[in-house]
């Protein structure tokens, strides 16, 4: 994973609450055996009309949302399944950060492991961002704040290890493998018990 220190983008808003992983990527596309190329399927049944053309009512299809890589989403984004296809699809579609007052546990973990900034912010600031699409934000991962155009700052808190991995591009499997001796010791004790 490449290190991520900051993201600078305008925001797009998906204000619906409880946007579930089936809406992010419908289950019928999960027959893939790779991680790549899921961006075109992201939000498929919301984003496209039945004839395959873009649905103009889908917020991210609107002209002002083009090029936005920060999404302000309604509360409880990513609820539902554990499919990591959801963050894979979002990243491939061009989304680099999702800001929300509450994010589903499994989705949040999956997202951060792939370098998709799933960031929980306070309700008050969340409500304000939902009402102001298109503003320029800078997300600073190291200092854990979001800079607003007027100089204001929204603080946030990432789990320290997730933050460390994002900033340094740490391979978590590599980190776990460093604990091989402790794991072996645990297994030996378990066997003896």
């Amino acid at each position: 994973m490449k290190p991520i220190t900051r993201i600078h983008s305008r925001t797009a808003v998906l204000s619906d609450e409880n946007i579930d992983t089936d809406r992010i990527i419908p289950a019928r596309f999960l027959t893939t055996t790779t991680r790549e190329g899921l961006g075109k399927l992201c939000f498929h049944d919301w984003r496209y009309q039945t004839d395959g053309s873009d649905n103009p009512a889908f917020p991210l299809n609107q002209p002002q949302a083009q090029g936005c890589s920060i999404v302000i989403a309604g509360r409880n984004f990513g609820c539902g399944s554990s499919r990591e296809h959801a963050p894979w699809a979002l990243l491939d579609y061009g989304v680099q950060a999702v800001l929300c007052s509450e994010i589903a546990d499994i989705f949040r973990g999956n997202a951060l492991k792939n370098g998709l900034l799933a960031i929980v912010i306070d309700e008050l600031e969340h409500r304000w961002l939902l009402k102001h699409p298109g503003i320029e934000l800078v997300i600073d991962v190291r200092e854990q704040f979001i800079a607003l155009p007027d100089g204001g700052r929204i603080p946030f808190r990432l789990e320290p290890f997730a933050r460390h991995c994002l900033l340094n591009g740490v391979d978590q499997l590599g980190y776990l493998l460093q604990h091989s001796d402790a794991i072996t010791h645990y297994e030996q004790q378990e066997k003896a018990a």
Partner: protein, 470 residues
């Protein structure tokens, strides 16, 4: 000194490296369940890095999500939804062969939905940590195991190290007092609970279901309850093991046998929350107030008694949900016309679920214009059901009796509803498009699903069970 909760007892015995401010705990995994959808990229990762599986003996794989539920064609071929689905199944077969993982594939007499066969084989045991790339892994919490869904990156972590990096979650006790009324099932109860605490009420928590009404549940019913913990946002939900648990597990293939069984049971008896244990949050539910419960919106928290009026929308998301479902505020869901009925899924596809549906349907016919699918959770459930003649009850009523699999719960194998069709489903998710693009899902118990198939509209099963209630 305050005592420990059941969750803390299981957690503490699996910590390989304790958590610190800067680093999560390294948590040992006892059982890793695998299916075809969320594992291929993890196997590929191991292959690319030249890593072996650390403990293939702690893995168990099956085919369930992408598999057709229709029997083989005349030429012996399987009627896959598409070539990609078939390739995914073939990929898991290849991966399991190459890496030496026990696979319950097409030729296994034990194949079935991953969360049905784990317990059936006795692979699921009290006090274990169990993971799978599947959010309904919470099902196994019914045995007093800490069981939760993980993403594919973590599937790779467990394959290579048998461990996960985890922060200790918060705990929530759900006390279910009293007794469920006659004709009310565990599915009604869990829908009622999710309707009460909300679709995100459990986010950040591990749930523990407890109280008289929980202790009175059978293992199948406890699995139904724990299965849907994730629908309240909780990754895991546990129930303390007791005599019901031990009796259910005894003699199953992967459980300890002989003297080792007695030793195991003695250990398992300690897996209860201590009297002085405290939870981060506690909720009380009155079981006697639970009615036949269904969903009316597009997430499982939008659940109400079927005879209660659908609440008016209070925000844009609820407007969208009611509009999608064509649910009418002020009117009950009971009586809503039904197009398709699905009995199956890791929530409700076990023998007792099929019996519950069959008891309603015996000697009756599915209403004209309604399509009904009954999909047993495993080959073992299918055998047992056929031995009892349940399949004949369903087929005589005009329902389709299928081969085990996830089927219409996730609708990625070709079993799906058409746009606009209303499905009464015993599965776990009523998200937009979950059972086919534009399909409308109403979650319900097997008895309610069966009654609705007969009536052609959402119906109270107790009207068909008068002799049982009397």
């Amino acid at each position: 000194m305050s005592g420990k909760t059941l969750f803390e007892k299981v957690w503490d015995t699996h910590v390989v490296v304790p958590e610190t401010t800067d680093t999560p705990a390294v948590l040992y995994v006892d059982l890793h369940l695998v299916h075809e959808v969320t594992s291929p990229q993890a196997f590929s990762e191991l292959r690319e890095r030249g890593l072996p599986l650390r403990r293939p003996d702690r893995m168990l794989a099956t085919l369930d999500h992408s598999t057709p539920t229709l029997p083989t064609n005349a030429d012996g071929g399987r009627p896959y939804a598409n070539a990609e689905a078939q390739a995914q199944v073939t990929q898991l077969e290849t991966n399991c062969r190459e890496f030496g993982v026990e696979l319950h594939g097409w030729d296994s007499a034990d194949r079935g939905i991953v969360h049905v066969i784990g317990p059936e084989l006795g692979a699921t045991q009290p006090g274990m940590t169990i993971v799978c790339g599947d959010s309904h892994t919470s099902t196994h919490g019914a045995f007093g195991a800490l069981a939760f869904g993980i993403g594919t990156t973590e599937v790779g972590h467990v394959m290579a190290t048998q461990c996960l990096l985890q922060r200790k979650p918060k705990t929530m006790a759900i006390h279910v007092d009293g007794q469920l009324p006659a004709g009310i099932s565990a599915k009604d109860l869990i829908l009622h609970i999710i309707g009460t605490i909300g679709v995100d009420g459990g986010t950040g928590y591990v749930l523990e279901y407890r109280g008289a009404a929980i202790e009175a549940l059978s293992m199948d019913e406890r699995m139904t309850v724990c299965n849907m913990s994730i629908e309240a946002g909780a990754r895991a939900g546990l129930i303390a093991p007791d005599e019901t648990t031990f009796a259910w597990l005894k003699g199953r293939p992967r459980t300890p046998q002989g003297a080792a069984w007695d030793v195991a049971v003695a250990t398992w008896r300690a897996l209860r929350s201590d009297d002085g244990a405290t939870y981060d949050r506690e909720v009380r539910i009155d079981a006697s107030a639970v009615k036949p419960t269904v969903t009316y919106g597009t997430h499982p928290g939008m659940a109400i008694a079927m005879d209660a009026p659908v609440p008016a929308a209070t925000n844009a998301q609820e407007h969208r949900a009611l509009n999608y479902m064509q649910s009418k505020p002020g009117q009950p869901m009971q009586g809503t016309p039904v197009d398709v009925v699905f009995v199956g899924s890791c929530t409700n596809s076990r023998l007792s679920d099929l019996r519950e549906a069959a008891n309603v349907m015996r000697g009756r016919r599915v209403a004209n214009g309604v399509r009904m699918l009954v999909v047993p959770g495993s080959e073992a459930v299918r055998r047992d059901a056929e031995r009892e003649g349940l399949h004949q009850v369903f087929t005589a009523a005009g329902a389709e009796w299928r081969v085990p699999g996830c089927s219409m719960c996730i609708a990625m194998n070709g079993d799906l509803a058409q746009p606009g069709q209303l499905v009464v489903s015993t599965s776990n998710r009523n998200f937009e498009g979950r059972q086919g693009k534009g399909a409308r899902t109403v979650l319900a118990s097997p008895a309610t699903a069966a009654a609705s198939a007969l009536a052609g509209c959402i119906a109270d099963p107790r009207e068909y069970l008068v002799e049982v209630a009397a």
